[in-house]
């Protein structure tokens, strides 16, 4: 499998960088940013396979970010991270096309598995789109 291009969006810097370094160790191509706005900017410029969004962020929250992100790059699979029992946000997010969501606390291994699954699904979508364009 090629290296997965992952966009990690979380306002808590320490948490984000620790997680990013652990994911990098697993051979994932991680880019991390601290806000929804930065994420949107980045996704206009570069391609990603999977995005991991924290729902609770100041400014543009995870759900808003998800909406914009899906508009710009519909094929990116999004995994949401939720804390403090925000079930509603989870429902909303899944409806808006998030691939899945993880409730905190989760262990990195679970996240990793989800990222891989999401990536596989993204590849499927992509190749499907290519076939569609050919016919």
């Amino acid at each position: 499998m090629e290296s997965i291009r992952l966009l990690l969006v979380d306002d808590e810097e320490d948490f984000r960088t620790t997680l990013a370094s652990r994911l990098k160790r697993r051979n994932i191509d991680v880019t991390d940013v601290g806000s929804g706005n930065e994420a949107i900017e980045l996704i206009r410029e570069r391609s990603f396979d999977v995005a991991v969004l924290d729902i609770k962020m100041p400014g543009m929250d995870g759900i808003e970010t998800l909406k914009h992100l899906k508009k710009i790059a519909p094929l990116v699979e999004v995994i949401l991270l939720t804390g403090h029992g925000s079930v509603e946000a989870g429902i909303e997010g899944m409806r808006l096309g998030a691939y899945d969501y993880l409730m905190k606390p989760y262990n990195v291994k679970d996240l990793l598995l989800k990222v891989e699954d999401a990536y596989r699904r993204k590849l499927l979508e992509e190749s499907q789109q290519r076939t569609q364009q050919r016919t």
Binding site: D14, G90, R95, Q132
Partner: protein
């Protein structure tokens, strides 16, 4: 397709920008049904894999959802203390998994189930409403004296503190003086030091596969906590409370963990730290140490495994004046060794309590009648005692000569203890197991009181006499959960029986099953012919305080449904009729939680989660708009997911150049779709492929089983008339759309290492997915088997027979109604192949299993026959369990030379 009509309404026009490519294709398959269309194998391959990845996620969440339900049901028994944090986290989990199921069904169907999101949202709203009814005002106090604490405050002070408060304020008995350091204090300590953030960062370092990472992380976290600064106002509050307690006398205290939420039991189980004999200048440090014990490696691992969030646990601390025990002991408000007498038993030793229970010395023992008459007093020879040293350690010292044979308690003290025991039993509504202490000023204290679990004391021998005046039906069953229960017997064979289980009946079954958890609330007792006292059901029965006897051997034969019986699960006996002598022991325990507001919230929340209204997929009401609980949603999603999985295969099999019919000598309508490397050559013009051109490792293994010679020899099995009629009737009654599906068509989507096999061999459907490579970690088989003709009972018998077989092949198996989901993973390729071979045989074997499932014994007989390699169902048709067992042994069992995994 069942429910097809209603689903049309579901196309509520999802925002097109969110519609990904696959969706377009899924819907294309649905619309265009012209044979002119051609589809590349790539397209199909992707579609199948996409659909299956959704299906798998859906099944995962289904299993998790059912676990949440049984957990809530356990708490609804009302015997375990829980707070709002429990209710909230369980509700969130239930919604989460229902949501995941809906989302994946919606995805795999091309967004034709968006309506289910609305319904889910509505139910979630109701749940939220119910949760919101209990407005908690979090305590602002950092410290609470016991005078202000009762059982309902468990979220603020933890289980241990809450119980002590209850004993002091509602039962009005003396407890050691002291105070609780609340969860508010805990929060302020953690937040002020930004410990929550620090800890969650540290926890990123945990790799559950590597226990060493848990140890190092635990150490780092505890180090963080103990070196943090307790906020000044908290320190002041603790020291002020201590000063009030000490009244300048420099007393020492014990600091005991009293965790909240789901960890509250861990406090009781001694998982968290307790510090004894703490002097005033070490109180603050001891506080931090107790708090830090929330993060011992064991506690971290426990929460990770159970999926408990850190936000949902908090540590309150019990700060109690050390009682300088002259004597101490344990007291039972009812004799646990002979239940026919209602006497109170008090045991006592000199010094500290542990010696009264640990068996180091024989304690004094007093037996006192409820009328306070001392019936027996056995004063033992007590040469040593346990005391605490000034530094807090416990040491053994000799007892002074003149005290060694002296009673530890005076008559007056015995009287007082008896009064306490009776009061506690009255307050909690059930017999109590009580710890007490007597200080040097001859004052008595209650240290703890909890429900008496009689089975802990019987040690396996009967503790009730045989009552000869009543007909004895079962004499030598084994006690799985002690107690007495009486009521009319009710036989449980299928899941349907569990759904119909009458309130107050006695459950009688052939095997014990953890599924009985569904009726634990309703049943008065459980009797099974077979079963294990250390099994899962046994522990559930104990958890729920339902008397249970296993290994009763002849229960299903001698106790018909409807017969009134009295179950004496203390001694493994069952009597016919009601036995008044035993009556007073039945369900002695009232449930202390049941009157609390928190319990009522859980009850209300669970009404939106647990009840299952949609039982029959054929009913016109089996539609999203009739879903009234999360359970309804999950049931419906599960049902529809199978239909959806087949739609694509059905369509594709008609296409030339994509699907190849497998050329075999047996009647098998099997189509093969190669994703790459699964076939060595194909004849596009003939649209068929012979088995020897299959190069897919897992498919070849499965085919070996399907084409096993035994099945080729005996094509037609005699069908018992009764069974045949039942299958016929079922077909006639099914709507036409359903009968259409009975074309025995199967599909194999393959690559060199991959197989997805969906089949409708016979009247059932099954979906198998497997990966078989040189890397064991990647390998798996998931197998789901569902539905079928014949009535529910037969269907369920077959599913259970399959479950028995798969379990004995080391599969992890979940049964839900007429469905069985099994998985086998991370094994070597050769083992995977063996299992696939057997599943192939199993698929053939089950072809007409329904018709043979006439009675309960057939479940095991068929499973046994199959596992013995005896695939000829001829003589098992009228199954007498034992008979066919003998048969299979005579015939040498395995008529198969291949090495099978059970060799």
């Amino acid at each position: 397709m069942p429910g097809g009509n209603c689903l049309k309404r579901l196309n509520s026009g999802l925002n097109s920008r969110l519609k990904p490519a696959v969706v377009g294709w899924l819907n294309l398959f649905r619309r265009k049904r012209s044979s002119k269309d051609t589809f590349s194998p790539d397209t199909l391959s992707n579609l199948f894999r996409f659909k299956y990845s959704c299906f798998k996620m859906l099944l995962d969440s289904n299993a998790e959802f059912l676990k949440v339900i049984s957990d809530i049901e356990e708490r609804l028994q009302g015997q375990q203390v829980f707070g709002m944090s429990y209710v909230r986290s369980r509700a969130a989990q239930a919604v989460f998994h229902a949501l995941r199921m809906v989302k994946n069904l919606d995805d795999l169907s091309g967004h034709r189930y968006t309506l289910l999101f609305d319904i889910l949202e509505k139910i979630n709203l109701k749940i939220k409403e119910a949760l919101g009814k209990r407005k908690e005002i979090p305590p602002t106090e950092l410290i609470l004296p016991y005078l202000q604490i009762n059982a309902e405050m468990v979220d603020w002070v933890g289980g241990k503190n809450a119980n002590l408060g209850e004993i002091h304020n509602r039962v009005h008995l003396p407890i050691p003086r002291g105070f609780a350091i609340t969860t508010r204090a805990f929060e302020s300590f953690m937040v002020r030091n930004e410990l929550f953030d620090e800890i969650s960062k540290k926890k990123v370092g945990i790799d559950p596969d590597n226990p060493e990472t848990i140890n190092t992380t635990s150490e780092e976290i505890r180090q963080l906590i103990t070196s943090a600064q307790v906020p000044a106002e908290l320190e002041d509050a603790i020291l002020l409370a201590y000063a009030k307690l000490a009244e300048d006398s420099g007393i020492r205290v014990s600091m005991r963990s009293s965790a909240t939420g789901e960890d509250s039991e861990l406090s009781y189980a001694g998982q968290y730290l307790s510090k004894l004999n703490v002097p005033s200048d070490q109180i603050i440090h001891a506080y931090k140490e107790v708090v830090a014990s929330l993060y011992t490696p064991r506690a971290i691992a426990y929460r990770l495994n159970k999926g408990i969030r850190d936000e949902d646990v908090a540590m309150s601390v019990a700060c109690l004046q050390m009682v300088e025990s002259a004597a101490s002991g344990v007291m039972y408000s009812r004799n646990p060794f002979n239940l026919l007498e209602e006497n109170i038993i008090i045991t006592a030793v000199w010094g500290l309590g542990p010696y009264a229970v640990e068996g180091v010395i024989t304690p004094d023992s007093y037996t006192v009648g409820k009328n306070r008459q001392t019936i027996a007093a056995e004063i033992s020879h007590k040469i040593v005692k346990l005391i605490s040293k000034p530094d807090g350690d416990l040491i053994e010292v000799p007892v002074a000569d003149d005290l060694q044979d002296k009673p530890c308690l005076s008559q007056e003290e015995i009287d007082i203890l008896v009064t306490y025991a009776l009061k506690l039993e009255e307050h909690y509504g059930c017999p109590q197991d009580i710890e007490w202490a007597l200080d040097k000023k001859k004052r008595l204290f209650i240290l703890q009181s909890r429900p008496l679990r009689v089975e802990d004391y019987g040690k396996g021998y009967p503790i009730t006499p045989v009552l000869t005046a009543y007909p004895l039906l079962i004499e030598k069953g084994r006690t799985a959960s002690a107690g007495v229960g009486f009521g009319p017997a009710f036989h449980v064979v299928s899941d349907q029986d569990l759904l119909n289980f009458p309130d107050g009946a006695v459950l009688v079954a052939r095997h014990s099953s953890p599924k009985f958890v569904m009726v634990m609330k309703k049943t008065r007792a459980i009797i099974t012919d077979m079963g294990n006292i250390a099994g899962h059901m046994a522990s559930l029965a104990r958890e729920f305080s339902v008397p249970a006897i296993v290994n009763a051997r002849v229960a299903t034969a001698t106790i018909p449904t409807g017969m009134e019986v009295t179950v004496d699960a203390y001694s493994g006996r069952v009597y016919q009729g009601i036995v008044p002598e035993l009556e007073s022991f039945q369900n002695a325990c009232e449930c202390p939680m049941k009157d609390t507001p928190v319990y009522r919230v859980l009850r209300e929340v669970s009404d939106w989660i647990i009840p299952l209204h949609l039982l029959d997929p054929k009913s016109p009401n089996f539609t999203p708009s009739f879903c009234r609980s999360l359970h309804d949603i999950s049931r419906m999603v599960h049902e529809f997911s199978y239909t959806e999985m087949f739609q694509l295969s059905d369509f594709v099999s008609d296409k030339k150049g994509v699907a190849f019919k497998l050329k075999v000598s047996i009647p098998l309508d099997l189509y093969v779709i190669d994703l790459g490397g699964g076939m060595t050559e194909t004849n596009v013009h003939l649209n068929s492929v012979p088995p020897d051109k299959i190069a897919s490792v897992p498919f070849n293994a499965l085919l070996r089983g399907i084409m096993h010679e035994d099945f080729q020899k005996s094509q037609l099995r005699p069908v018992e008339f009764k069974g045949f009629l039942s299958v016929m009737r079922e077909q006639m009654l099914s709507p036409p759309s359903k009968t259409e599906r009975f074309g025995d068509r199967s599909y194999a989507i393959i690559s060199d290492k991959y197989l997805n096999f969906s089949s409708r061999v016979g009247y059932h459907y099954s979906i198998l997915d497997s990966y078989c490579s040189p890397t064991p970690g990647m390998n798996y088989i998931t197998f789901s088997f569902k539905g079928g003709a014949a009535d529910d009972i037969r269907r369920n018998r077959r599913v259970r027979a399959i479950a028995v077989i798969l379990q004995s092949l080391d599969f992890t198996v979940e049964i839900t109604g007429d469905r069985v989901d099994a998985r086998y993973q991370k094994h070597e390729c050769s083992l995977i192949e063996d299992r696939l071979d057997i599943i192939g045989r199993l698929l053939q074997f089950t072809r007409q299993m329904d018709m043979l499932m006439n009675n309960e014994a057939s479940v095991e007989a068929l499973a046994k026959n199959f596992l013995a390699g005896n695939y000829n169902l001829k003589n098992t048709a009228t199954t007498r369990g034992q008979k066919s067992e003998v048969r299979s042994q005579e015939s040498g069992g395995r008529n198969d030379s291949r090495k099978t995994p059970w060799d």
